[in-house]
């Protein structure tokens, strides 16, 4: 925990000791270093990359390119493999649209019951259009997916396996490496939703062997409105742009259009340079801390939380995964009290958590839990935050039960 002592001082939003922020799976707070990078870009003069020859435009072009390299390196990718998007959702939609629109009746896409709607609805919509089928890997007794069952389900009909690396509801870390191998054995492509994992676990796309991996900056201490998706060399020729507009063409003639042959094809419109700069600064921030330390810190907080919750009456913990099998995200319910009422009373005490279905209806329905209270940690949390949460839950119990 040493690296994280007094760590809140790096986050202006958390200077007020009355604030207990435990909703980092929704969005993280931003360290001052990231804010400084973003503001320093704008103060130094904004420009529109690839457009214009003046100093500001040249500087913006350079910054966009160096930011892309930093973010790509953060997940072990080369810059030419990384597209900027507005967030995880856009990345997953881009990939689903490209892959799904080529599928036919008889083809199968394999998802897991843990998927966030961002990795579910694009496939559901395309399945309706194209007539392919979707199979969900269910939750096994160990709280994750059963690889033996996955081996039976992933077969010659399987064209895509799209899976979240860490559940945004339960924190469960899914066996993406093993699933990727099973998928590749049958020639299927692998899409990873890394929204919750990328700031919590070291991610290396080449080691993982995935074809696409999407994530967003705002869940990893970066700005809102920017994300990225890794696209493998193998997948890139199969993608088509979601948007058409400026900056994506080499030549527009009366009767033909020659599109850019690099990533610019997928980034039509003026790029979000400030976002990219902040995104890169966030990656540097995490690199400086070291993801292994972040993980250690999170495990310590999670262990204390689970222990303390388990001692309270009427509290049911919904994260069945063993300690090492999950990231710093824990869901629980209080018998007889709706999760939003818990959230409200905690909010009144300055404790920020998330309640409800967490945009993962298939999972909450399968667990039959009608919404959960979710605690999710960030690098700035400490053991005192856990104490305050537990005090808050005791107040809820006293009030309602």
């Amino acid at each position: 925990m040493d690296a994280f002592v007094d760590f809140k001082k790096h986050f202006s939003a958390l200077h007020d000791p009355a604030v207990v922020y435990l909703d980092s799976a929704a969005t993280t707070q931003v360290p001052d270093s990231v804010l400084a990078a973003v503001s320093s870009y704008a103060r130094g003069g904004r420009g529109n990359p690839y457009r214009g020859l003046h100093t500001f435009a040249a500087k913006a072009t350079k910054l966009l390119s160096s930011s892309r390299a930093t973010v790509a390196a953060f997940i072990g990718a080369r810059p030419e493999e990384l597209l900027f998007t507005k967030g995880t959702t856009e990345g997953l939609n881009l990939v689903a649209r490209a892959l799904g629109s080529r599928l036919c009746p008889g083809d199968q896409v394999v998802l897991t019951i843990f998927e966030h709607h961002a990795n579910l609805l694009p496939w559901r919509e395309l399945a309706r259009e194209r007539g392919f089928s979707i199979t969900y890997l269910p939750m096994a007794k160990n709280g994750s997916v059963d690889l033996e069952l996955a081996k039976k389900i992933i077969g010659s009909r399987t064209k895509v396996v799209a899976v979240t690396q860490a559940s945004n509801v339960l924190g469960t870390i899914l066996p993406v490496y093993e699933l990727a191998e099973l998928a590749h054995d049958v020639g299927a492509l692998v899409v990873v939703d890394a929204a919750q994992s990328v700031a919590r676990l070291p991610v290396d796309v080449h080691q993982l062997g995935c074809d696409a991996l999407a994530f967003g900056a705002h869940k990893m201490y970066g700005p809102e409105g920017i994300g990225a998706v890794y696209i493998s060399d193998h997948l890139r020729p199969q993608l088509s742009p979601l948007l058409y507009g400026g900056g994506m063409v080499d030549e527009v003639l009366d009767d033909t259009i020659r599109y850019a042959e690099d990533l610019r094809l997928f980034e039509a419109g003026s790029p979000n340079v400030a976002g990219a700069v902040g995104f890169a600064a966030a990656c540097e921030f995490l690199q400086l801390l070291g993801l292994e330390h972040v993980r250690q810190h999170e495990l310590e907080l999670t262990a204390k939380l689970v222990r303390a919750l388990a001692e309270l009456p009427r509290v049911i913990i919904h994260s069945p995964a063993p300690e090492l099998g999950r990231v710093g995200v824990v869901s629980f319910s209080i018998e007889g009290v709706h999760s939003h009422d818990v959230a409200q009373l905690l909010a009144d005490q300055g404790v920020a958590i998330r309640a409800g279905y967490h945009c993962a209806a298939p999972l909450t329905r399968c667990l039959d839990i009608g919404g959960t209270v979710r605690v999710s940690f960030g690098v700035y949390n400490d053991l005192a935050d856990v104490d305050k949460l537990i005090e808050g839950v005791k107040t809820v119990l006293a009030r309602f039960v």
Binding site: H338, Q344, L345, G356, R399
Partner: protein, 121 residues
């Protein structure tokens, strides 16, 4: 501590009035609030002269949504359809006696939305 959970609200949430299914309903409506996951089904019997004669509901969800449904239905029983259609969000907030705030207002307005949709058909 929030007065969002004042006694009257908790009482309505715990012992909802007009709870159950009205088999002879002339109007029924299912309404859901995705953020909280609140669901309600309302059942109404309206008369030929435009009165809401009987009301009932079933549902699951947070205290605010369930108490608001119970209190709103209690207040519309016996009133005219036109009067109910003329009700506005402020009327519901007035009934609840609390200010739900931007995050909970959808819970509070769930029953009004259901009533308006089903009665304006």
């Amino acid at each position: 501590m929030s007065d969002m959970y004042r006694q009257q609200l908790l009482d309505h949430a715990r012992r909802p009035r007009h709870h159950g299914v009205l088999a002879e309903a002339t109007h029924t409506r299912h309404e859901a609030n995705p953020s909280c996951g609140d669901v309600i089904d309302i059942y109404l019997v309206t008369s030929s002269n435009g009165l809401v004669e009987q009301v009932s509901f079933t549902g699951q969800g947070c205290v605010i949504s369930q108490a608001a449904t119970s209190m709103l239905l209690e207040s519309v029983a016996g009133r005219s359809v036109a009067e109910v259609l003329a009700m506005c969000p402020e009327d519901v907030v007035g009934l609840l006696g609390i200010e739900p705030g931007p995050m909970r207002i959808n819970c509070a307005l769930l029953p009004l939305r259901a009533l308006h949709k089903v009665l304006s058909r």
